[in-house]
Symmetry: C2
Subunit: 321 residues, 2 copies
């Protein structure tokens, strides 16, 4: 009946993206509570926190405590974000994470210059150091990531050719260091994508690298995220980053009042209702979403936690019959 | 590059759907202000109000005053909803509307029984009376509408066969009265649709009635509306009902805290960014959306009015270059 993938893998990033973005302060115990709640939903991969300098991201100052406090659930892969050796060492030392290295490039030079004071070339060269750092610590590197792959607030539209060039650079870096990129993540960092550009960019990457497994990182700033994920599903993409309750946002993107990442439970709802297995218990995930709302203390953008599931309505209909 | 329609026609229903749903009271002058604001955006069809008993829908008690007060803009088709002869006469008497009759059936018998105390058969028979009423008043009848076409909170899933049967009933009614249905509207009244079910239902209707022009009425209760519209666009549907700022909701659907209709400016954003012409000035529409928020006095769900347009960002990028 459909060409959609039979199942998808969701990489939950709510605790990291969300608590990084919130003005806070959020008590450490409550951050741990959310991670533990998410662990019970059937999600197989959760990004718990980031090990970054507290002066840059105050919301992550308690990352070591969060790392120490959450309960590891069998079958779940736990991750932490780190951007330098200090952070990586904190992640490894905690002994709590399934640490993986990422070759991360950015398709927009203007974004790089603004946020990392680097040119595209300098950023490419800097990846050698990052890869060597991972290798020094025996951390496997099997992911690639392209930020701003669909457009940039500071550079404007990003051409498909640029994305293809950056993709090739990731493969070149991997090859030079004897690595294989299992998953390449395309990130719509600043919410420039449309369903059509998702199809065009993914189509172009697929044409050139037909065997490459792809994943998508989507933001809902302009209300497009679920439609973008649907376009991704139609292109066979079966891995999505997502944030419970729609937590998150990019603090560097200069948006005001903008929505965060694609909402995990809305994505799970769409997938499950279309027969695409997520492995996630939607009711438990909605519980986690409501918990997230309670923790941040303001409404979050997720829709299904407010509108309710169809499973609940079907049950009510059957009971009334 | 794409098979999407070159252009779409948007039927703005914010003033009617929105002010019907709001707890109110909203001053008449402000309702008129919104209609006038929408008239300047390039929208070609606006539903201004409904002529229904004030005891059922208190928010429409001032429909006659709203009708008398708004400024008709050349090239815009203005509509009012009426459900019986009294309402139709009010609409006609006002002399302010481009009144058209609709053959309206509902795919869910449980919904009909609950809200109109009718069976499917009784509702079918009642349409004869409605059509004769329109004809008595020389009102052209050239639209059909199927409510609850994708599922129902009180009946559950609705089969494609049911939708096809109801579609045929509309054509039978039309034929019996010497009418032609120019546009058939499929309504996801209670937000049960997925992008996949949009494609399946529209595909089935298309297979049986390849020449029939279709339109979609979508709700965003579960965050799917933009994705549903994208699925509709991929199926070639080029007419969408929408509500500025995401105003609206169905007061009879027993939802709590649920979002309203598909947001006009989010839909315009998606279409224009994909090269699908809407004829609408997005900046003026965002102004109208902000006005709607100001009028109802609480945040409305539209995203683009908060996240901003890409056109504005592109302009900023060019200016900085």
């Amino acid at each position: 009946m459909s060409d959609l993938p039979r199942s998808v893998h969701l990489y939950e990033q709510g605790p990291r993206e969300g608590f990084q973005f919130e003005k806070g302060p959020i008590p450490t115990a409550r951050k741990i509570e959310l991670v533990d709640s998410l662990s019970r939903t059937g999600l197989k991969q959760i990004q718990v926190c980031s090990f970054v300098p507290a002066k840059n991201v105050p919301g992550m100052a308690d990352a070591d405590e969060v790392a120490a406090g959450f309960k590891r659930h069998p079958g779940v892969r736990y991750e932490a974000l780190s951007l330098n050796e200090k952070g990586l060492e904190r992640a490894i030392t905690s002994g709590r994470f399934d640490t993986t290295g990422i070759i991360s490039l950015t398709a927009s030079e203007a974004f790089l210059k603004r946020n990392q004071k680097r040119t595209l070339r300098e950023n490419y060269e800097a990846q050698h150091g990052m890869i060597e750092m991972y290798q020094r610590h025996n951390v496997p590197v099997d992911r690639g990531s392209i930020m701003a792959a669909f457009g940039c607030n500071f550079e404007g539209d990003i051409s498909v050719e640029r994305v293809l060039n950056v993709t090739q650079q990731i493969f070149d870096l991997a090859e030079e260091h004897g690595l294989t990129i299992k998953t390449l993540n395309l990130s719509d960092t600043m919410a420039w994508a449309t369903p059509l550009s998702i199809k065009r960019v993914i189509g172009a990457v697929r044409d050139k690298y037909p065997e490459q497994r792809l994943s998508l990182h989507l933001h809902d700033t302009r209300g497009m995220a679920v439609a973008l994920a649907y376009a991704g599903l139609e292109m066979g993409v079966a891995i999505y980053d997502a944030c419970v309750a729609g937590l998150g946002g990019c603090p560097f993107a200069a948006h005001k009042g903008a929505a965060g990442n694609i909402c995990t439970e809305d994505l799970v709802f769409m997938c499950e209702e279309m027969g695409v297995d997520t492995g996630v218990d939607l009711d438990l995930l909605i519980e986690a979403a409501r918990l997230a709302e309670d923790i941040v203390g303001h409404p979050l953008p997720g829709s299904v936690m407010k509108g309710g599931t169809l499973r609940a309505l079907r049950k009510k209909v059957r009971a009334a019959a």
